[in-house]
């Protein structure tokens, strides 16, 4: 009897939550329930990030997505809601078409994800399982400072590639992400100022009553 791999168990739990609530986002019609399902799904994806060894990214996902973007979305829902009786459904033919396209896309992606045998993970009864487990411990030890490596990479220093300077094919990745970091910072400022400008409170320009020409006005 093999021992239970808790990593796999937590992965299955979080994957089931993420996938189940993602499907619920699609099938639920109410926009507020969609937002709640999306919160749970995004939080489960953050848990999957933790399981994959990306702790900083999981925390960023929780803070930015679950904390920030969803608050924004829910405020958007509240500011544009027109009462619970307004339902925006699509026809059955469009549902069938979307489902056919979705299933076909999923079949392609599933084939691509599972066809490479090296990606299927080490088997428990395999001879390579014990070295793989030892390698996982090494990897966990090396990933202790993953957030530090991430920060150094954003400043243009690739600490994880420093020991590979003998291979010139890998030097293309040595440049780091300093320029992209600066661009994304300025981009974020510009975008948020622009969003505040777009969403500013103003008088309603065209409502349905004023769409018809007013005979009293010249």
């Amino acid at each position: 009897m093999d021992t239970i791999n808790w990593h796999s168990c937590f992965f299955l739990l979080l994957a089931a939550i993420a996938c189940g609530f993602a499907v619920a986002v699609v099938v639920v019609g109410d926009i507020v329930r969609m937002a709640c399902c999306l919160v749970v799904s995004l939080a489960a994806v953050a848990g999957l990030f933790f399981l994959a060894g990306a702790e900083f990214l999981g925390a960023a996902q929780l803070m930015v997505y679950v904390g920030g973007t969803m608050v924004l979305l829910i405020f958007g829902v509240m500011l544009t809601a027109r009462g619970p009786l307004v339902s925006m459904k699509i026809g059955g033919g469009q549902w069938v078409l979307a489902l056919v396209i979705g299933v076909a896309l999923f079949a392609v992606l599933l084939q691509a994800a599972t066809s490479t045998s090296a990606w299927n993970g080490p088997k428990a009864n395999d001879q390579a399982a014990v070295p793989a487990a030892a390698k996982q411990d090494d990897g966990a030890a090396a990933e202790q400072d993953a957030a530090g490596q991430l920060g150094l990479g954003l400043l243009g220093v690739r600490e994880d590639r420093l020991h590979r300077q003998d291979k010139p094919v890998l030097l293309g990745g040595m440049s780091g992400y300093l320029l992209a970091f600066e661009i994304i910072s300025v981009h974020l400022v510009v975008v948020l100022v622009g969003a505040a400008y777009l969403a500013r409170a103003r008088r309603r320009i065209r409502n349905p009553e004023s769409r018809a020409p007013n005979p009293e006005s010249p």
Binding site: H7, S8, L73, G76, T114, G121, A146, L198, A199, N207
Partner: protein
């Protein structure tokens, strides 16, 4: 069950990412609410992000391969920031659209149709 005793591999993460991606695509195609379409976009970006993180993870990397190192996590971080910016702009556009049309139905926004 063998899945409870074997360590998970890269393809398990890829399958979860594929499910999120396809759910987002179907959500974008079938919702008529602007915010529903936006939620579909968030799901698609999360599915792609999960693939980036899985490929960059040192835990899931196949033995003896180099992998993409920290590139995966950094690209995923950029995707998160860009998704936040995109959500802010899209919500501002949705609010402006709501002020102009008094609805958030994307089928009514056909004024630019030729």
């Amino acid at each position: 069950m063998s899945i409870f005793t074997e360590p998970v591999g890269l393809s398990h993460f890829l399958v979860v990412g594929a499910v999120l991606f396809v759910c987002g695509v179907i959500c974008m195609a079938t919702k008529r609410n602007v915010l529903g379409v936006l939620m579909g976009i968030e799901l698609v970006l999360n599915g792609a992000n999960l693939n980036f993180v899985a490929f960059g993870s040192s835990v899931l990397r196949p033995p003896g391969t180099e992998g993409i190192g920290m590139d995966g996590q950094m690209i995923a971080l950029f995707v998160i920031v860009l998704a936040a910016a995109e959500a802010a702009v899209a919500l501002a556009i949705a609010l402006s659209y709501y002020h102009a049309h008094a609805t958030v139905d994307v089928d009514r926004g056909d004024e630019l149709r030729g």
